[in-house]
């Protein structure tokens, strides 16, 4: 029998899967509670550098909560308590000495609803740069162009840089948000259902971008669209009820997962709940 019922506790993952791979993000024995309600339970996750890793699982399984641990966005939520270890680019993200602004520069984030600022396209991209003190017009222009190119948006907006960002299509706005994140030269990109508000063609364009970003950035992507995970991710992690149950190469997860639970989820099966 190929898929077996889950053992309680350990994440099922081939032992040498990430051997020799540098890690961008790591969670070890990570617990997360929202006002006493456990949302993450002893999560162990390794996200390799310069690859796309997808987090999949049913609603409420904790994937967004896990994502937000890596840029400490959970700090903003009252009653949220984290224990265990979170490492970002080799450093302890929750160490007292950690600079939050610096963490959030190195770890960019893209949300489900595109959130461009109500400013021009160029000003959106330049926002983080100006905040960091960059004033040189020439250099700003160069960095804006580079970021827009990297986000696959340059050709569409090169003649509209002073137009309001709110006039772009949803797909363009989402790519603008990525350009804004890329402008400050992050190393990791966190994406929380980034394409779920986009039409199918914009989604595919967006996915092309995600795969291309892999060359320079490490991507952790939360998606409820399994085919999207299958299309863009090198590695896929399956979560359920706050636990990370299985982690493997995407090919393996989608052709022959090890756990019955993973198989049931990706094939759309019902199971008798045992608890």
């Amino acid at each position: 029998m190929s898929a077996r019922d889950e053992d309680i506790g350990a994440t099922v993952m081939p032992p040498d899967l990430l051997a020799g791979h540098e890690l961008a993000l790591e969670a070890r024995a990570l617990d997360l509670d929202y006002s006493g309600r456990r949302a993450l339970d002893a999560v162990n996750l390794q996200v390799p550098r310069r690859q796309v890793t997808a987090l999949i699982g049913p609603s409420g399984c904790g994937k967004s909560s896990l994502l937000r641990c890596f840029n400490r966005l959970n700090d903003e939520i009252a009653g949220c308590r984290v224990s265990g270890e979170v490492r970002v680019l080799g450093l302890d993200a929750y160490a007292p000495a950690t600079s939050l602004p610096e963490l959030r520069r190195r770890v960019g984030m893209v949300f489900q609803k595109p959130n461009p600022f109500p400013q021009s396209v160029a000003d959106n991209v330049a926002f983080g740069l100006r905040l960091a003190g960059l004033r040189s017009r020439l250099e700003l222009d160069d960095r804006i162009e580079a970021a827009l190119r990297a986000a696959g948006l340059w050709d569409e907006v090169r003649d509209r840089l002073d137009d309001s960002a709110l006039r772009l299509s949803a797909g363009q706005q989402q790519r603008l948000v990525i350009a804004r994140a890329l402008a400050v030269e992050p190393e990791v990109l966190l994406m929380d259902e980034p394409a779920s508000m986009l039409d199918p063609i914009s989604t595919l364009r967006f996915e092309e971008l995600v795969v291309a970003l892999r060359e320079r950035y490490s991507v952790l992507l939360v998606t409820h669209n399994m085919q999207q995970a299958a299309r863009v991710a090198d590695y896929t992690a399956f979560m359920q009820a706050g636990r990370l149950l299985e982690f493997d190469a995407t090919d393996r997860i989608f052709t022959n997962p090890r756990l019955r639970g993973t198989e049931d989820y990706i094939t759309g099966r019902m199971r008798e709940t045992r608890d």
Binding site: M1, S2, A3, A230, F254, N256, I266, T267, R269
Partner: protein, 239 residues
């Protein structure tokens, strides 16, 4: 049939599609089994009416292959199946291609009755061929059974029993070659018998292919070209 929990999709429609697909494959298998049985009877009895029957039903076998392939294409397009569902569809496509070829071989066997006409051969050659025919019929029935039960262990056993078919084939070949060397006027008839044995041996190989697909479908392990049939090792663990 439900070892893979095929019937538990939230989409009832998808459940029905997969159930219908497996039923169709087994129906095609039954048809091909019948073709082989009739062909062997036709040959043994030199019954030209039964030959015509086999030839006429070949169209049904071919039509079944096309229809099942079309259903598989639809499922791939519409459902984007994953994991065991995906393996089922892929396995079905390959199994059905093998079943269609078995149908072709059965027709070939039947037509030998026509070609032999009234030619006489000593009884024990026909007997040996019938023996081989019986063994291959049993292989085919058993193979289809492993699919019906989704039983990869039985599939592996069936796969290995193809050696018995090969043994009979070599024996019969040797006897017929011997005959042809001793009695050159028997050569045309002996050659037809040899083609008959060859067709049966090919059917045996096709059954092996189908068993490999059952193992793939259940275990997720592609055992084609691994020499599994010739070894005594247990099924490898999927890494």
């Amino acid at each position: 049939m439900d070892r893979l929990h095929l019937g538990q999709h939230i989409s009832q429609q998808f459940n029905s599609e997969l159930a219908a697909l497996t039923k169709q494959v087994l129906a095609m298998g039954g048809l091909v089994e019948a073709q082989l049985a009739t062909a062997l009877e036709a040959l043994a009895a030199r019954d030209l009416r039964q030959v015509a029957h086999v030839v006429a039903r070949e169209d049904e076998v071919n039509a079944a292959e096309l229809e099942i392939d079309a259903r598989c294409t639809q499922i791939l397009a519409r459902r984007q199946p994953a994991a065991s569902d995906l393996r089922l569809v892929l396995a079905v496509v390959r199994m059905v291609a093998n079943l269609e070829r078995i149908g072709d071989e059965a027709e070939r066997i039947a037509r030998i009755a026509e070609k032999l006409g009234n030619a006489e051969l000593p009884e024990h050659y026909a007997f040996k061929l019938a023996q081989m025919g019986s063994l291959v019929r049993d292989q085919l029935r058993g193979t289809l059974d492993t699919f019906a039960r989704m039983d990869e262990t039985r599939a592996l056993e069936r796969l290995r029993r193809d050696r018995e078919v090969d043994v009979l084939y070599k024996e019969l070949t040797r006897l017929l070659v011997d005959l042809m060397q001793r009695e050159s006027e028997r050569v045309p008839a002996a050659l037809e018998m040899l083609w008959g044995a060859r067709a049966l041996e090919r059917i045996g190989d096709r059954c092996k292919n189908i068993c490999e697909q059952v193992i793939y479908l259940v275990r997720g392990k592609d055992v084609r070209h691994t020499g599994l049939s010739r070894s005594a090792a247990p099924l490898p663990e999927t890494k």
